[in-house]
Amino acid sequence: MNVDQPAQKPIFTKDDFVSSQEVRWCPGCGDYSILATAQRTLAKYNIPREKHVFISGIGCSSRFPYYMNTYGFHTIHGRAPTIASGLKCVAPDLKVWVITGDGDGLSIGGNHLIHCMRRNIDINILLVNNQIYGLTKGQYSPTSEFGKVTKSSPMGSIDYPINALCIALASESTFVARTTDTDPRHMGMILERAMAHKGTSFVEIYQNCIIFNDKAFGPVTGRDTKEDRMVFLEDGKPLIFGKDRNKAIFIKRLQPVTGDYDPVKTYPDILVHQESGVSSHHAYLLTQMRYPEMPVPFGVFRAIERPTYDALLQNQVDQAVKDRGAGDLKKLIYGGQTWRVE
């Protein structure tokens, strides 16, 4: 039985992953949807809950571990990837999750995020992006739009925003995806893909902060607009969108552009998604599709295979034991030049 695939006969239910702690996010917070989806997703696998560890930094979303009936560690601001990395290095059989936000992961903890991904440590990173600092009550974040008026930017933010997925791609992440709190079904599918991936899985989740940045993604993911402004990526398939599935993304002079689509016709310049390209420029191009000029892509941008750091680290230990024998403490102490005094 491969426990890394959803079980045919699941032995757990969502409730098995619900902790006794009262959830304390604001009513209507997008985090509820993410929590429930994570719990539902884990219940699909016959992986016992003691094998899961949720590690977070600081921020609203970083309260997540308290609500999961698994092992958990609510650490300090931005550092969750480091603690997760250390844990995974000594306990490779655990399923290690990092829950972070746009401030925690991309501002104070940006360095760790980059290096965790380039090492390809086999953990799953969920970056909950609401484009605002929530827990500190409403300052602009590194993903807030330019000109954003907040408590700390009354005349508008003069910080140009960062694109989470570009950071992931530049960091040579082997799995890069985007989903949204408004679509739990899609989110569940992405979480399953992330779990199945060996290596660092980076998932950006658009999340609504109802108090400080309500409807930030509404123009894209809102009920009335989503079909025209979201495009879902499917490996090997062209990027088609629109309520009537009559629009598609084409490549013109290395730029993605929208155009009419008729399924009976063939289009040499239509953009066909490929997750596993050797280089990341296809995925990078997708990250540049932004509202309002373009529909925004959701799904798996990139999924490639590369040896994981934790496995390579263990391999070196095993190789050293093979080459030199399991270390004999006496030999270590008596190593180098010794002499006797009688």
């Binding site: 603690i83 030199r324 008596y334």
Partner: protein, 614 residues
């Protein structure tokens, strides 16, 4: 080898030699070889490498000078010697930088070949010190080392630059002759080191021989010295530096606990040697992680500790600053963690390669909130081994971070290490809880140690959450209860204090009461010991005690300090330990001796201070 005793042989008890040259001249290597041979010949010794942070400052300049000092003796030695009997200066800059480290009437051997106009200028000499009377108080031996090396290697198929690089071996050979050392050990080492370049090995060996013969033949040297074997305790010895001893001690501690050793670290002088050493011992189930920064280094170690393994992070003072917040997390999470701080001269980047004891207060108090940790300080390079094992024992028994305050001086200095019988070491018992009928309480405490259970992820039925937010007693759930908060802070402080019941009582050497106690900590041990020994061998006016445990203090400290009229506290800082002692033991007369020059104490400095107090 053929010893040609053509000259007078004089017995010497202890000799201090200082090798000095350009960073690229191989002075550290030369000193190491001289040390190894002295060790094999049965002398006791202590060494002190003194080198710049610049990897290769411009050749011949003052910042580029690298030095290595060794004291070797037929008696037990405690320091690398205050001041050198002999200086080998490979260029004018080395002479200039090191002249004040040589005693008056001491011997200075200079590489005359390079005392040229341009080199003198680089060393800021306006006139040639060999001729202008600068060295009139010394015995000066002008040896054209570069020329003689070139001559000796005429037949060897090397490039000129390669030939010139052999000159340190000529100098080594000369020193071998002067102190009647056997060169066989160095030959073996050269052959091994240059196994892939036999022509280099042969040239280096020839250079050693040439230097040796030069001493023997030249009329300039008319005395050869001998230093007898020291009466060290019976046993097997090896030469060890503090960083090596820490690394080996950590591996031993993890082994005694039957655990993986995880070392998360970011390269920093003078702690990097620990990372290098550990990364070469992976077959001891050692996992080293070179992190992206200091914070990640401690973060990964905390993760590994959460995962149930022995977790260590090593750094120097600037790195400790960056790790402070994470260290607080380890305090709050009550996880075992070893923090190594190989102290260097500060503040800020300071003098990275120079030693100091200025991080005591930082390690004790440099965190937000009240977050006590256990703090240990090794006394000698070899002591680093014992301290590493002890730190692991305490960390896992009390579920706490333990800091090891080493020093740049200890990290790089070498001494003979009497090898311990590791099979007689007590195992370090670690019990990870398993599920029982009772509800699992992650913050329930052992009634004796106050340690919380170390339940590790993967254990069925013990799923729980920890973190940096204030913890409710027993359950560890997030709590804002004011009374609970105070209780938890007091419990954590009490836990650290209870370690005092579990460590050796402080010992006093010499007078148990009376006029003066000299109380130190860390790497000043050797210099203090020697100073007290020199002054008080026959009388018994002085007591000496040395703190290896800085938090908590060992039992009996108060009684001890109150048994003397005065307590002298020598420290390589402005008075950090003394501040703690004054706060804790009011009424006792504490007197400081403070040095913050990036250099260890000289025995003489402590001796003079003591004399003034008696």
């Amino acid at each position: 080898m053929a010893m040609t005793h053509s000259k007078t042989i004089t017995q010497a008890t202890a000799i201090t030699v200082r090798f000095a040259g350009d960073s690229g001249d191989g002075m550290q290597l030369t000193g190491d070889q001289f040390t190894d041979t002295s060790a094999v010949m049965g002398n006791d010794f202590a060494t002190f490498p003194d080198y710049p942070a610049e990897i290769r400052a411009p050749a011949g300049t003052l910042p580029g000078v690298s030095s290595f000092q060794i004291q070797f003796s037929e008696a037990i030695v405690f320091t690398p010697g205050d001041i050198a009997d002999v200086l080998i200066a490979m260029n004018p800059a080395a002479l200039k930088v090191n002249l004040h480290h040589v005693k008056k009437s001491g011997l200075i051997i200079v590489n005359e070949s390079v005392f040229t106009e341009p080199n003198l200028r680089k060393a800021n000499y306006k006139t040639n010190p060999l001729n202008d009377g600068t060295l009139q108080d010394y015995q000066v031996m002008r040896v054209p080392i570069t020329e003689l090396t070139k001559n000796a290697l005429k037949e060897h198929p090397l490039k000129l630059t390669e030939v010139e690089r052999c000159k340190n071996f000529f100098a080594l050979g000369l020193m071998f002759w002067l102190y009647s050392r056997d060169y066989e050990y160095t030959f073996q080492w050269i052959k091994k080191k240059f196994a892939k370049r036999p022509e280099i090995a042969e040239a280096n060996i020839a250079a050693v021989k040439a230097g040796y013969s030069f001493g023997d033949i030249t009329e300039a040297f008319n005395v050869q010295y001998q230093v007898k074997k020291a009466s060290l305790q019976k046993g097997t010895y090896r030469k060890i530096t503090g960083n090596e001893a820490l690394a080996i001690g950590l591996i031993a501690g993890a082994r005694l606990a039957n655990k993986t050793l995880f070392y998360g670290s970011y390269p920093i002088t003078p702690a990097s040697g620990i990372l290098h050493e550990l990364s070469s011992h992976k077959h001891y189930d050692v996992k080293t992680f070179q992190a992206e920064d200091e914070i990640a280094a401690i973060g990964t170690a905390i993760g590994a500790s959460f995962g149930g393994q022995i977790a260590v992070t090593g750094t120097s003072g600037p790195g400790v600053c960056l790790k402070s917040e994470a260290l607080g997390l380890a305090v709050m999470a009550e996880l075992p963690l070893i923090l190594i701080d190989v102290q260097r001269s500060g503040p800020s980047t300071g003098m990275p390669t120079k030693t100091e004891q200025t991080d005591l207060l930082q390690v004790l108090y440099g965190r937000n909130g009240e977050s006590p940790i256990c703090v240990l300080a090794p006394q000698t390079p070899a002591d680093c081994f014992d301290v590493a094992v002890e730190a692991i024992r305490i960390a896992v028994k009390y579920m706490t971070p333990v800091a090891i305050l080493s020093e740049g001086y200890l990290a790089n200095a070498a001494e003979p290490w009497k090898l311990p019988e590791i099979e007689k070491f007590e195992k370090i018992t670690v019990v990870h809880p398993q599920k029982t009928e009772a509800e699992f309480l992650p913050y329930a405490r052992d009634p004796k140690t106050l340690a919380r259970p170390w339940a590790i992820p993967g254990t069925p039925g013990l799923e729980h959450r920890i973190g940096g937010l204030a913890k409710a007693d027993l359950t560890g759930n997030v709590s804002y209860d004011p009374v609970n908060n105070q209780k938890m802070i007091q419990l954590r402080a009490e836990k650290i204090q209870r370690i005092a019941e579990d460590i050796p009582a402080l010992e006093v050497r010499g007078a148990k009461s009376g006029q003066l106690l000299v109380l130190g900590w860390g790497g000043t041990y050797g210099a203090i010991y020697q100073a007290v020994d020199d002054l008080d061998k026959d009388s018994s006016r002085i007591g000496q005690a040395h703190l290896k445990y800085l938090c908590p203090f060992p039992r009996g400290l108060e009684k001890i300090v109150r048994s003397y009229k005065k307590v002298l506290v020598p420290e390589l800082n402005s008075g950090q330990l003394i501040m703690l002692l004054r706060a804790q033991f009011p009424g006792v007369v504490f007197e400081g001796l403070n040095k913050i020059q990036g250099l260890p104490f000289q025995v003489d400095e402590i001796r003079n201070k003591i004399k003034g107090l008696l």
